[in-house]
């Protein structure tokens, strides 16, 4: 005995259930961003070896969509400061950070970048933490940190991206005053050359 079909289900019913995801634009953008963090190639010292190991096949940074190390700040979202930052390098770090497009993130990798590390006391040439030069999002301690630690730091960056909101900005809109110094590449914030005389060797013009 067969039951009569009184109200058959329409042919379209259930066809898209498995394929359609309803979400908000905010979440979609954040998901896209956190799945394609492109870091900048920025190895300064021994931490860079661990960073390279994290990018290689065993630890595989590409699982997180962060395997595309870019050699230019214009294409990078994340600056992994891996290694000792000297005063001479600090102005370059800051300059590269300023060249990166928004939104941009910084991981301070290793003891030297988080707070001077072994150079804290007697290292006359080492910046006592890269957060004195650029705003840091995630600190990864260790000397050097294991690749797992760096991956953990990357996941914390992803958490941070996930929590971002798209909202209209209220109040004053415009550039915020930098609380951190922007050193000139010659070391000066403001050019000291007032009377036209050259101060540094690289300012000489080869004739």
């Amino acid at each position: 005995m067969t039951q009569p079909q009184v109200n058959p289900t329409p042919w379209i019913e259930g066809r898209f259930e498995e394929n359609m995801v309803l979400t908000t634009v905010e979440q979609a953008i954040n998901w896209a961003r956190q799945s394609s963090i492109w870091p900048m190639t920025f190895g300064l010292a021994c931490c860079a070896i661990e960073m390279m190991a994290a990018g290689a096949s065993r630890y595989d940074l590409d699982r997180f969509g962060a395997g595309a190390f870019r050699a230019t700040p214009r294409q990078a979202d994340l600056m992994i400061v891996a290694g000792t930052v000297t005063y001479k390098m600090a102005s370059r770090v800051r300059r590269l950070y300023n060249l990166m497009p928004d939104p941009k993130y910084v991981i301070a990798m290793g003891a030297c970048t988080t707070g001077g590390g072994p150079y804290f006391k007697w290292g006359y040439h080492v910046v006592k933490g890269v957060d004195l030069v650029v705003p840091v999002d995630v600190y990864v301690p260790g000397c050097p940190p294991r690749p797992e630690s760096l991956l953990e730091g990357l996941m914390r960056i992803q958490d941070k991206i996930q929590g971002q909101r798209i909202a209209k900005r209220t109040g004053s809109v415009g550039k915020v005053d930098d609380e951190l110094p922007v050193p000139h590449h010659s070391g000066y914030v403001v050019s000291p050359v007032a009377d036209g005389s050259l101060v540094f060797d690289h300012q000489k013009v080869q004739s």
Binding site: Y87, K88, A90, S91, F120, Y124, H125, V127, K128, L132, V133, P181, P183, S186, G187, Y188, V189, V199, F200, D201
Partner: protein, 176 residues
């Protein structure tokens, strides 16, 4: 070469240039009068029977005034010492030259001690001397391009001197 004969040859060729020596040490060394350093180096490279054609390194040692508790046992007066390691690739022998300089020229703090540059003898001495100038503060007269090599060009002081004080601030970056 490792005998008094070599020293006598040097003394004959350039009288008054040797201030002291110890040739039975593991690294035999000769102390040279600062004013004769370039002449001695040129003689060692070009005239002596063992041609020292390679300058391996230049070292500067800051013998600072000893701590007051240790002053009684101290065997030195404050001075800056330069050590030159030479090597002869043909004869496979090495020798060490030492030069004693005052910590400051004329004992006026801030006036760097001066010694002749050996860049004209070994071209490789160029960067070695720049490094010594940068970190230990020795002025090499006759150097073609004596400027800092490691520290930024506007750095103040010479960091490997014992009385060096770390900067509290460098162009807006807090020091400590």
């Amino acid at each position: 070469m490792r005998g008094p004969g070599f020293l006598e040859q040097l003394e004959t060729a350039l009288p008054g240039s040797v201030a002291g020596s110890r040739l039975d040490a593991l690294d035999p060394w000769i102390e040279i009068e600062p004013s004769r350093l370039v002449d001695v180096c040129r003689w060692l490279r070009e005239k002596s029977e063992v041609r020292f054609d390679a300058l391996e390194c230049i070292t500067a040692i800051d013998w600072f005034e000893p701590d007051s508790k240790k002053a009684a046992k101290a065997t030195w007066q404050p001075h800056t010492e330069l050590v030159y390691h030479l090597w002869s690739t043909a004869s496979r022998v090495s020798i060490v030259l030492k030069v004693k300089l005052p910590r400051w020229k004329g004992d006026v703090p801030g006036q760097l001690p001066e010694v002749g540059s050996v860049t004209g003898v070994w071209r490789g001495a160029n960067w070695h001397e720049r490094e010594v100038y940068d970190l230990s503060g020795v002025w090499f007269t006759g150097h073609p391009d004596l400027r800092r090599i490691l520290c930024p060009e506007d750095w103040e002081g010479h960091p490997l001197r014992k009385d060096y004080e770390q900067p509290l601030e460098y162009h807006g970056i807090r020091g400590r």
